[in-house]
C-alpha cells in the first residue's frame, strides 16, 4: 500500500536517511521518541517504540545491509497523539518474515540471536512488510489517547 494512502497516517510524514551503522541508526530514534514524548505517550508505549526501533534498525544494519557501511537506511515516520507509524527500509534483497523461526520454541530458545522480529510483533500494535521484504512497517496505537 502506498503510505500516503495508509488510513493510519494522520500526521505529516517525515523521512530520514542515515548511514548503515549502529551509531548513525540512533538519530531516527532520537527524533521519533522526542515527538512521541511531546505527544504524551505513556512510559510503556515509549519503551515499546524504542525497543521496536532498535530491533528494526539493528536488523537493517546487520541482516538487510549486511554490515555494509556504504549502504543507507531510510526511516519514514508520522507521529500523532493517537498513533505512531514507522517504516524502516534497508537496501538488502529482503527476506520472508514467515520463514523466521519462533525463538520461544524449545529448539530455538538457546540461540543468542533471532528475537528481534518477535519482539517487534509483541510490542507494536501491528507489523507488516513490503512485498520485497526489505521494509518493515510498524504501527503503535496510543492506548491513552482520548478524542
Amino acid at each position: 500500500m502506498d503510505v500516503m494512502h495508509d488510513p493510519n497516517l494522520d500526521g505529516p510524514l517525515n523521512e530520514l536517511v542515515v548511514g548503515s551503522n549502529l551509531t548513525a541508526a540512533k538519530a531516527p530514534e532520537q527524533a521519533i521518541l522526542g515527538e512521541v514524548q511531546r505527544c504524551g505517550y505513556g512510559e510503556e508505549a515509549v519503551f515499546a517504540i524504542k525497543l521496536s526501533l532498535e530491533e528494526a534498525m539493528t536488523n537493517a544494519v546487520r541482516h538487510g545491509n549486511r554490515n555494509d557501511h556504504s549502504k543507507s537506511i531510510r526511516v519514514r515516520y508520522a507521529v500523532s497523539p493517537r498513533r505512531v507509524l514507522i517504516m524502516v527500509a534497508d537496501e538488502g534483497p529482503g527476506f520472508a518474515p514467515e520463514a523466521v523461526p519462533d525463538p520461544t520454541e524449545p529448539e530455538y530458545i538457546e540461540r543468542p540471536n533471532g528475537r528481534g522480529i518477535m519482539l517487534i510483533r509483541a510490542y507494536m500494535t501491528s507489523v507488516s512488510y513490503n512485498d520485497r521484504g526489505n521494509e518493515v512497517r510498524m504501527l503503535k496505537e496510543n492506548d491513552q489517547w482520548r478524542p
Partner: protein, 125 residues
C-alpha cells in the same frame, strides 16, 4: 557559549561493575543497554565465563533498557558457563525488563531472584 539542550530521550549511560565473590562473579548493570552498547556487555560476560567460576549473578536492578542483542549476550554467557558446568542467575529486573524476559521466555533459561544474596546463596545449595 550556548548551553547544550539535553534531549528528553537521552539514555542513561550504561555501566557494568564486576565483583568477585568466593565462587561467583557478580555483575551489576546500570543505565540503558541499547544496540550500540550490547557488544560491550557480551564481551564482559564472556570474559567472566573464561575464568571458570561456577556461578554468574547479574544484578538488573539499575538496568532500564535492553534490546534483543543484549538479551543475546545473556544467552551467550549462559551457554559458555554451562559448557564449564556453571550457571547464570538474574536478580531484580525492573518490570519492563521482566516483561521482556517473559515475552522471550528466557525465564526458562534464567532463574530470577529477588536479591543478590539469595542468588549467591542458591549456588551453595
Amino acid at each position: 557559549m550556548a548551553a547544550v539542550e539535553q534531549s528528553p530521550t537521552r539514555e542513561r549511560p550504561f555501566a557494568i561493575r564486576v565483583e568477585r565473590r568466593s565462587r561467583a562473579a557478580l555483575v551489576v548493570l546500570d543505565g540503558s543497554c541499547p544496540m550500540d552498547v550490547s557488544p560491550r556487555l557480551s564481551d564482559e560476560l564472556l570474559k567472566l565465563a573464561d575464568e571458570g567460576l561456577p556461578l554468574l549473578v547479574i544484578d538488573l536492578a539499575g538496568l532500564d533498557f535492553i534490546d534483543s542483542s543484549g538479551l543475546g549476550a545473556f544467552v551467550s554467557a549462559y551457554l559458555k558457563f554451562r559448557r564449564r558446568h556453571g550457571i547464570v542467575r538474574l536478580v531484580r529486573p525492573q518490570p519492563q525488563i521482566w516483561e521482556l524476559l517473559e515475552t522471550t521466555r528466557l525465564t526458562l533459561l534464567f532463574p530470577v531472584f529477588g536479591s543478590v544474596d539469595d542468588a549467591l546463596a542458591a549456588a551453595q545449595d
